[in-house]
Symmetry: C2
Subunit: 285 residues, 2 copies
C-alpha cells in the first residue's frame, strides 16, 4: 500500500520504519527533514511538504507534538488538505484534543477524506518492537481498512469508539502514566529514606500487586540516574492539560491527576521539560 | 518439615493450604477457629493456641492484620514465645511496622528464636496460585533455611535486607497499590464522564505504558461494580499509615501518598472499610 508518515521523531521514526519493513511504499515528511535520513536510506521517499506526502498516499499517518501542530500539518500551507484526493485516510498517531480531533475529521469529511484518531502507548521501546497499544476512534469501515497497518505498529489494537474517542482513551492513559510515575518517584524516595536498596525494592514490587509498566521500565532508570527520554516531561505535561480539560468538561474532580499536573509543571519550571518523565524524581522529595 | 501457620484469613488460608499440599506437616491456629476447618479436612492439626503451634513446629508463619496482633500472637498469653524452643524460626507474613518488627526479632533472639519478616504481595489470587511476591528481611542463613517454604508460596522471593527491611519494602509496595488504585478510580471516572466505554478503556490502557497490576485485576471489578475484597480498604488504610510513619521518620514529603491516605480514610468514614480497595471509586468523582 502507498503510505505516508508525517512527523519523524522518537516515536514516528521507528513506527514509520516498521511500516516500511512490512513492505509498503513509504513517503515521509518532517519539519526537521534530516530526521528522515535513516528512512530514506531504507528506501522511503522524502517529500518536501505534507501536501506532497498526501498526494502520493492512500493512508497518511501523523505523529506530531500537539493540537496546533496537527492542525498545521493538515490545514496549514502545504498541508495534507492541499494534496488530498477523495478516499484518502488520515490516521493521527499524535496525542491531541478529542474536541479538536472531531473538528478536523468533520472538515476533512467535506473533502471526502476519512479520519481515524489512533494515539499509541508503549513508549519508544514499544514503537521499535511493534508492540504498542493503539486506541482508535473512527468509523468501523475506516478502522477495518487501517487495521492491517495498525497491527504492524502495535500488538493491542482496539477501536474504542467514534472519532475523538481514541484521544479520550489516550487522555485516560496519560493520567495513568502520570500517577504511576508519581508513585515510582515517591516509592523510590521512601525506600532510599528508609535505608532500603531502591533497586531491590523496584525489582520485587514490580512482581506483585504494586507492579506497573512505569515501575518496571522507568523505575530502574530513576534508581540508576538515567533521565533521558523516552517520553518527555513537556509532552506528558501537555497531555495532562488535555486530560484535565476533558475532566473539566465532564465535571470530574480528579485530585490525583491535578496533583500530578502541578508536580510536572514544577518539573518544567525547574528546567527538566526535555528530560524523560522519570525526571519527576527531581521534584519529589 | 513441621510447619505452623497462625492467622487463617483471606491470605493465610490459601497460603497454609499450599504448604500443606507441598507435603509438610501443618499445625494451625486462628482467632476464629472455624476458619481452620478446610485445612483440618485436608489433614492439618488444629491447635488451641499459638503456643501449641510453636511447640510442634520448626517454622511458624504468622498472618494477622496489624502490629498489635503480631505482638499478641508472639508475646501474649498462649503466644508463640511460651511454646517456642531454641532454633524455632518465626516468619511473619503480616504487614506491620518495620520498627516493631526489629523489636520483636530482638526479643525472640534472647530465646534463640530466629525471625524473618516476609510480607507478601499479589492478592488472594497470587496466594491461591502460589505466585506471590515475597519481600523478606532477616539474616541470610535464616532466609536460606526458609527459602524452600517461601518458594511454595511465591514465584518471586527476594531477601531485601536485614530484619525489618521486608516490612519497609512492603510499605513501599502499599504506596504503589494505593496510588495505582487512585489512578484506576480517576481514569475510569474520566472515561465515563467523557462518554468512553470504561471497560474498553481498561482493556486497552492495561496493554500499554499506562498498565498496572491494579488496572488489570481490579479495573474490571470497578467497571462491573464488584466491590468484594480481595484486599480490604481498612487494611490498605492501615498500611498507608505505616508508610506515612516511615516517610515521617525518613523526612520524605510524599504528597501523592498523603492524598491517597486522605481518600482511603474518607472511604472508611463512608462505611466502605470492609469492601475491597477498589471501593475507593465510591469517593472519587
Amino acid at each position: 500500500m502507498r503510505i505516508g508518515y508525517i512527523g519523524i521523531g522518537i516515536m514516528g521514526l521507528p513506527m514509520a520504519g516498521n511500516l516500511l519493513r512490512a513492505g509498503h511504499d513509504l513517503s515521509v515528511f518532517s519539519r526537521t527533514l534530516s530526521r528522515c535520513d535513516p528512512l530514506a536510506a531504507d528506501g522511503a521517499a522524502v517529500c518536501r511538504s505534507s501536501s506532497e506526502v498526501a498526494a502520493s498516499s492512500e493512508v497518511v499517518f501523523i505523529n506530531v507534538p500537539d493540537t496546533p501542530d496537527v492542525e498545521d500539518v493538515i490545514f496549514g500551507a502545504g498541508g495534507i488538505s492541499d494534496g488530498a484526493g477523495a478516499g484518502l485516510i488520515v490516521v493521527d498517531n499524535s496525542t491531541i484534543s478529542p474536541r479538536a480531533t472531531r473538528e478536523f475529521a468533520a472538515r476533512l469529511k467535506e473533502k471526502q477524506v476519512d479520519y481515524l484518531d489512533a494515539p499509541v502507548s508503549g513508549g519508544d521501546v514499544g514503537a521499535r518492537q511493534g508492540t504498542l497499544a493503539i486506541m482508535a476512534g473512527g468509523d468501523e469501515a475506516v478502522f477495518a481498512r487501517c487495521l492491517p497497518l495498525l497491527e504492524v505498529l502495535g500488538s493491542k489494537v482496539v477501536r474504542v469508539g467514534s472519532v475523538g474517542m481514541g484521544q479520550t482513551a489516550k487522555a485516560c492513559n496519560q493520567l495513568f502514566c502520570a500517577l504511576h510515575m508519581l508513585a515510582c518517584c515517591e516509592g523510590i524516595s521512601l525506600a532510599k529514606g528508609a535505608g532500603l536498596d531502591p533497586g531491590i525494592m523496584v525489582d520485587v514490587v514490580s512482581s506483585g500487586a504494586g507492579g506497573s509498566w512505569a515501575l518496571k521500565n522507568l523505575g530502574p532508570k530513576i534508581v540508576g540516574g538515567d533521565l533521558d527520554p523516552g517520553f518527555m516531561i513537556d509532552l506528558l505535561s501537555k497531555d495532562l492539560r488535555l486530560a484535565m480539560e476533558l475532566a473539566e468538561e465532564a465535571g470530574c474532580d480528579l485530585a490525583g491527576a491535578k496533583l500530578a499536573q502541578g508536580l510536572f509543571k514544577q518539573a518544567q519550571k525547574a528546567g527538566l521539560g526535555r528530560l524523560g518523565t522519570q525526571a519527576l524524581c527531581r521534584v519529589v522529595d
